[in-house]
Amino acid sequence: MDLTLNGRRVSATPAGDATLLDLLRDSLGLTGTKRVCDGGACGACTVHLDGRPVYSCLTLAHGCDGHEVRTIEGLGSAIAPHPLQEAFAAEDAAQCGFCTPGQLMAAASLLASNANPTDAEIVAAMSGNLCRCGTYPKIVRAVRRASAVLRSETV
């Protein structure tokens, strides 16, 4: 199978029952996407499939054949961060940081479809992503901050 991963064509031969999460972490070595519940309950493994957020632990790898996948590694890096990553750092929206990649991919998806979300829209879009350290208040602030930055960039 072939897929476009973070903008590059990638070939892979996953097992028939491998999930996209297995493929990313175990075959391709992209460990930014985290495995927490492995059952669609926590959102830590959120990635984009053709621009839409999916739980990669519930997505079969072979179903991604010919499709486009974007992970946290494709969003930005510590050296060249996406405005959302910069906003999470500025607002201290990552404590242990383990849920953070999933939070960021959920937030990126929200801002792609809604450039200026209300707090209620942020809550609705991101309630599928659990955090145990308690960064939720700062996540909302970070998404607001990134939204403002991205809108000012597009003007």
């Binding site: 097992a15 029952d17 491998a18 297995d22 175990d26 070595g29 460990t31 930014g32 996407t33 985290k34 495995r35 927490v36 519940c37 492995d38 059952g39 309950a41 926590c42 830590a44 946290i72 590694e73 930005g76 890096s77 510590a78 961060p81 959302l84 990553q85 910069e86 999470f88 750092a89 500025a90 201290d92 990552a94 404590q95 242990c96 940081g97 383990f98 849920c99 953070t100 990649p101 960021l104 942020i122 809550v123 609705a124 991101m126 309630s127 599928g128 992503n129 659990l130 955090c131 145990r132 350290c133 308690g134 960064t135 939720y136 208040p137 700062k138 996540i139 909302v140």
Partner: protein
């Protein structure tokens, strides 16, 4: 702050090598860890430092510095154990018991070993006895019975399912009542009975009977708190790799040195041959303090196979076998005079510990939080056939506060007194357990500031409980307080070294659980060096590279480590000034440091640290620091108050928390942003404890029923109220010379009782069992309606 001349009481130089040590070099001190007092030997620091007072002019300490690894975390790459990929790494999976109590009759690994990709199986006979792996006596559901190693996680998990374990079931005890019944069998081999210390534990001061007789008003309540699970998002995990007889283990842990010590002792390897690394970890909350089954499994397979082995506990294993906050039943009686002075507190409590545990129970806070001459707590800690408890963020106090504070609310109601006023009248002005003063207890100011921020006085009348146009909703408010020993203590060491370009490294054997240890240590070192924060890096989480530090538990890290780091930085700065004095042709006492430059006071002459160190070539400037003893004549506590506003739907029973105001006194705050993050984290975990979280155990079968994150509910973004977290300004100069105390655990203690109080205020009836689920709320309302008819 002039730290130029340090007076050395002791030197670690030639004198000691010749065998003559200063008589006062080693002293004993006491350290409070998770509510327990430990006596420890401590080496006196080589020199003393003046405390940074509350009004000290500090640049980096107290600043809202950004978390140093924030962007690395936002990029998903800080180096978690579960992300470690060593060359030729293979994977282990654990076979677990599916009965609460029993005996292993046989283990058949034939089918598992025949599966392509399976490399090895580990059984009880293969493990050193000290690791206690794979006992044939099953004492709880989820107990490891065997392990299998394979080329991939998927193959290992499939193979684990193919291992056939025949078990003879035995009668189990899941509850305290079952465990202490006359015909109960020992829940694990070797127990005389099923009680911790063989009998209930009673602590008392004064005369409770006389105190209750002297009371004008007494109340009695029975309050229940649930068993809750730590639920760190990164599971327990280890990657082990041997190089000859040297073992390196990457472990998601709160204590790299303790894991090293556990591994060395239980595998029979010298300490120097074991290196434990934790570059980053995805949360612990008290559950990751030791090497555990997964650690030994990884190390043993790695030795047998000669390959790097990872063992990551899966989510079901994480939720059933890595610790919990045990449930409690608290039957309490409080007596008071009619003006609201407490005369007696009496508690009878039951705690099912699980198959192991300790006495960090709900009783302790009953002795500490309020001034009361007569207090008795009688706690029955029973071993039962479920997973062992583990310290979970303020163990004992978080659940004890629920009972005590609901009791105080009931007392306020009986006295027709404002619950806040009742609390103000009973502030503990000294450490009543040990009859000594506190270094500080500003709880009264916390009440004042919290009430002001919350608008407590506006909630006087019943009309404020109604929501206009929404007759099915009721609002209510509650208040609760907190006390927790947070002094930290020795031993903790740090080294600060200046590199040849003038940049600085801080080395300390601590770890960053997500609290911000790296950032805090860099801030303190930059402050004491007079350096730029971005030029200072903290190197932690590696026993092979750093001097010793203790576990990050008991809210101890900042108060234990920052004095050692400050001292190491002062020591390094002192050496730097010795070198700079000649280069700048100025006496040392005219030199100062600022923003990474050595300056000659009242002149325009200066050199950057890098210019000095470059001239020194490879002469390395290093400073060493250690944590001195605690003051022996004073208790060191963080106190605080939290206020909650809730909205309850009396038709559905659903509780929503609208607002939490928290004000705490933790001495000096090294970084307000990180401190607020800790506070919000504790409050949100406390909210989960109040409203959602409960491990459900089927007592007939002894099986946990909600092991996944679908069924074990932790708070999500939609549950979060407005949170206003605040710390009083100040510094605890008696506690240590940085002036800081701990904050992580205090944050969780008052949240659940404040919410429970607010729900009782909204409904006019208290719900006495947590979590405050819709059915419990509706049942309490129904019971109240029945009574009023």
């Amino acid at each position: 702050m002039n730290d130029n001349s340090v007076h050395r009481k002791n030197t670690k130089g030639g004198g000691a090598a010749e065998g003559s040590s200063t008589p006062t070099r080693f002293v004993t001190t006491t350290v409070e860890v998770e509510g327990r007092t430990e006596t420890r030997v401590v080496e006196m620091p080589a020199f003393a430092l003046e405390p940074w007072g509350a009004d000290a002019a500090l640049t980096h300490v107290g600043a809202r510095a950004r978390r140093v690894d924030a962007l690395v975390k936002a990029a998903g790459r800080p180096g978690y154990t579960t992300d470690i990929r060593r060359p030729h790494q293979v994977h282990a999976s654990i076979v677990r018991a599916h009965v609460a109590r029993g005996r292993v009759v046989s283990v058949d690994t034939t089918a598992a070993l025949a599966l392509p990709g399976v490399l090895d199986v580990l059984l009880a006979a293969d493990a050193p006895a000290r690791t206690k792996l794979f006992s044939s006596e099953i004492t709880y559901y989820g107990q490891p019975l065997a392990a299998v190693c394979a080329e991939s996680v998927e193959i290992a998990e499939r193979a684990a399912a193919l291992i056939v374990v025949q078990v003879e079931k035995l009668r189990h005890s899941s509850t305290v009542a079952q465990a202490i019944a006359p015909d109960a069998e020992p829940v694990r081999p070797g127990l005389a009975n099923n009680l911790l210390f063989k009998e209930p534990r009673t602590n008392a001061r004064g005369d409770v009977t006389a105190g209750l007789a002297a009371a004008d008003v007494t109340i009695t309540r029975e309050v229940r708190t649930p068993c809750v699970l730590h639920t760190a998002l990164e599971p327990h995990s280890a990657v082990a790799e041997w190089d000859g007889d040297h073992l390196t283990v990457w472990e998601s842990t709160q204590g790299i040195f303790r894991v090293r010590d556990n591994l060395a002792k239980n595998l029979g390897v010298p300490l120097t041959n074991v290196r434990v690394i934790c570059e980053a970890m995805g949360g612990g909350f008290g559950a990751k303090n030791y090497a555990a089954a997964h650690t030994y499994i990884a190390a043993l397979f790695a030795k047998r196979l000669g390959r790097a082995v990872s063992c990551v506990v899966d989510r079901a294993g994480e939720q059933v076998d890595t610790g919990n906050r045990p449930s409690s039943v608290q039957r309490l009686t409080i007596g008071a005079t009619k003006d609201g002075r407490l005369t007696a507190i009496d508690l009878v409590a039951e705690v099912p510990l699980g198959i192991g545990g300790w006495e960090g129970g709900p009783g302790e806070i009953y002795h500490e939080l309020y001034a009361c001459p007569n207090v008795r707590t009688h706690e029955t800690f029973a071993f039962v056939n479920s997973a062992a408890m583990a310290a979970f963020r303020a163990p004992g106090h978080a659940e004890g506060a629920v009972g005590l504070e609901m009791g105080m609310n009931a007392l306020a109601e009986a006295l027709k007194m404002d619950p806040l006023e009742l609390r103000r009248r009973n502030i503990a002005t000294h450490d009543q357990k040990k009859n000594r003063p506190y270094t500080g207890n500003r709880l009264s100011e916390c009440y004042d500031e919290g009430a002001r921020r919350f608008g407590w006085s506006a909630w006087g009348n019943a009309d404020s409980r109604r929501v206009p146009g929404k007759p099915h909703l009721r609002r209510g408010v509650g208040v609760a307080a907190q006390i927790w020993s947070t002094g930290g203590g020795p031993p903790s060491y740090a080294t600060v070294r200046l590199n040849s370009d003038g940049s600085a490294d801080v080395l300390a054997g601590s770890q960053d659980l997500g609290t911000g240890t790296r950032t805090i240590l860099a801030q303190v070192a930059a402050e004491a060096l007079g350096h730029k924060l971005e030029s200072v890096r903290a190197i932690i989480g590696d026993t092979g590279a750093t001097p010793y530090a203790g576990n990050s538990w008991g809210s101890m890290t900042v108060a234990s480590l920052t004095p050692a780091v400050r001292m190491a930085a002062v020591d390094a700065r002192n050496a730097l000034l010795d070198a700079a004095s000649g280069l700048l042709n100025a006496p040392k006492d005219l030199l100062d440091t600022r923003d990474g430059r050595v300056i000659v006071r009242d002149t325009d002459r200066s050199m950057s640290f890098g210019e000095v160190t470059t001239k020194l070539g490879n002469v390395m400037i290093q400073g060493h620091g250690s944590r001195g003893p605690n003051p022996q004549d004073a208790g060191i506590v963080t106190t605080g108050a939290q206020f909650a506003e809730v909205e309850v739907d009396i038709e559905t029973g659903v509780v929503r928390v609208l607002k939490i105001v928290a004000v705490h006194d933790a001495g000096r705050i090294v970084n307000p942003t990180l401190a607020e993050s800790q506070l919000e984290g504790g409050i949100i975990q406390g909210l989960g404890f109040a409203l959602f979280e409960e491990r459900v155990l089927d007592t007939r079968m002894g099986l946990p029923l909600n092991v996944g994150l679908h069924d074990y509910k932790i708070p999500t973004l939609a549950d979060i109220p407005l949170i206003d977290g605040h710390f009083l300004d100040g510094a605890d100069v008696q506690a240590n010379h940085v002036g800081a105390r701990g904050i992580a655990e205090p944050a969780i203690v008052p949240t659940a009782p404040a919410i429970a109080g607010a729900v009782a205020d909204a409904l006019g009836v208290a719900v006495l069992e947590l979590p405050l689920t819709p059915w419990r709320v509706l049942a309490a309302l129904k019971h109240q309606t029945g009574k009023s008819r």
